[in-house]
Amino acid sequence: MSGNKSPKTIATINFKGGVGKTTVTWCLADTLSTYSNAAVLMFDLDAQMSLTQAVGLNEDNGTLYPAFGNWYDKSVNGHRTIFDAIDQYTKPAAHFDFPIAYDFIYQISKGLHFVPSVEDLYWLELEVFDRDQMKDFMRRLLGKIAHSSKVADYDYVLFDCPPSFTLLSYSVLSCCDLVLIPVNPDFFASRGVSLLLNSLKMRIEPHPTPQIAVFMNKTKTYANSPTKETAFYMREIGRICEKTSKEQGIRAKFFDEAWVRERVGIKRAITGGGVPPDLVKDFQGLWHACLGVLK
């Protein structure tokens, strides 16, 4: 434990499903923890549990790896999940003393640790319906993690957010340093960015809107450059970022140089042993761009 520094926090979000939020979160975390000395903590906040299942899934037989499966069972049975933390936090008049240890955080590798999702998150909106009750949850939880002597000192915390504005994503967006929005080269995904940028400030007020970065994921390439079709959407999204920044008074930047190329079967990278070598450079580029706006 150090408690001397607070980690930089990045939330990957887009209301449009299928743009690659989960894959991007994991690939960024994996690239960072594999190719640098950074200690990374990754949260799966999506009740659909895609990241959790991908981390623990043995694709050969479709079951959870024993190490993760056993840990996960213990965490659920011992009431040490993210849902239990919320439950404890939102209890009336209770002091938030949720214990932070490795029964709450799973160690994927030395540099990459993970807080998985649980299916109870599906019902969070029904059980906790007070927005104000939740707003400081993630800030408090991160504070507890930073001051815990039982877990590592994390340099970066990455959140895989659900494709909707839930209480949990509200709590994360209210406290994160960077909102990272992956977009795809098509109309619907681009429209999703526009909707998100135009509503984010209003939704998380009175909290200040964090720095926002948008980048093109699943970029179609020709001769190692984005195709003209992709370039069209990149221009449009760049324009949306500029326009909404001016109109809404937010800080939204489009990474026109840091894009991630389309690759068939990239999802298997999570279960299949790491970011493919030809994509590492893309994710390193994306990370440098993120650091650039985090400064």
Binding site: F187, S190, R191, S194, L195, N198, S199, M202, T227, K228, E229, T230, A231, F232, R235, E236, R239, I240, K243
Partner: protein
């Protein structure tokens, strides 16, 4: 149901081939019918047919484009600006005044692809205007305060 009721792979291939032959016959019949109709239309409206032929020759893209790639995008932005401020007719008129080679440069810069290597002027105008509409829609919002 016994296994013998199902076709064997060999029988399945034969069945599929039969269906392909039948489909080909149908398509050929449709094609012949369409040709006959086209000829009858040409005979019934000779002046219109000649006009269409001239337009097709005009869209042969034999002349050179007068704009470069960068200028094409600037032109597109100008048209988007017009459409976004409700001046749709003006935007359409600008596109209508463009030559086929210029339209092709704009369309290419926007990443529009056509099934034919020499698309018609109409197809290019429609595709470009589709992109204009897309661009306008991407930034339009009706926020509820």
């Amino acid at each position: 149901m016994s296994a013998s009721e199902f076709r064997t792979p060999e029988q399945e291939v034969l069945k599929l081939l039969e269906e392909c032959v039948e489909l080909r016959r149908t398509l050929k019949a449709i094609s012949t019918q369409l040709n006959r109709m086209e000829n009858r239309v040409k005979r019934a409206f000779p002046t219109v047919a000649a006009h269409v032929r001239e337009r097709k020759i005009g869209s042969g893209h034999s002349s050179r484009a007068t704009i470069k790639a960068v200028e094409a995008l600037a032109e597109f932005d100008k048209i988007v600006g017009m459409a976004a401020s409700g001046r749709n007719e003006e935007a359409e008129r600008i596109l209508e005044a463009k030559s086929a080679p210029d339209l092709l440069v704009i369309a290419k810069e926007l990443g529009v692809t056509f099934p034919k290597s020499r698309p018609s002027i109409k197809a290019m105008r429609e595709a470009i205007f589709g992109k204009v509409r897309e661009s306008v829609l991407l930034t339009r919002h009706n926020p509820r305060n």
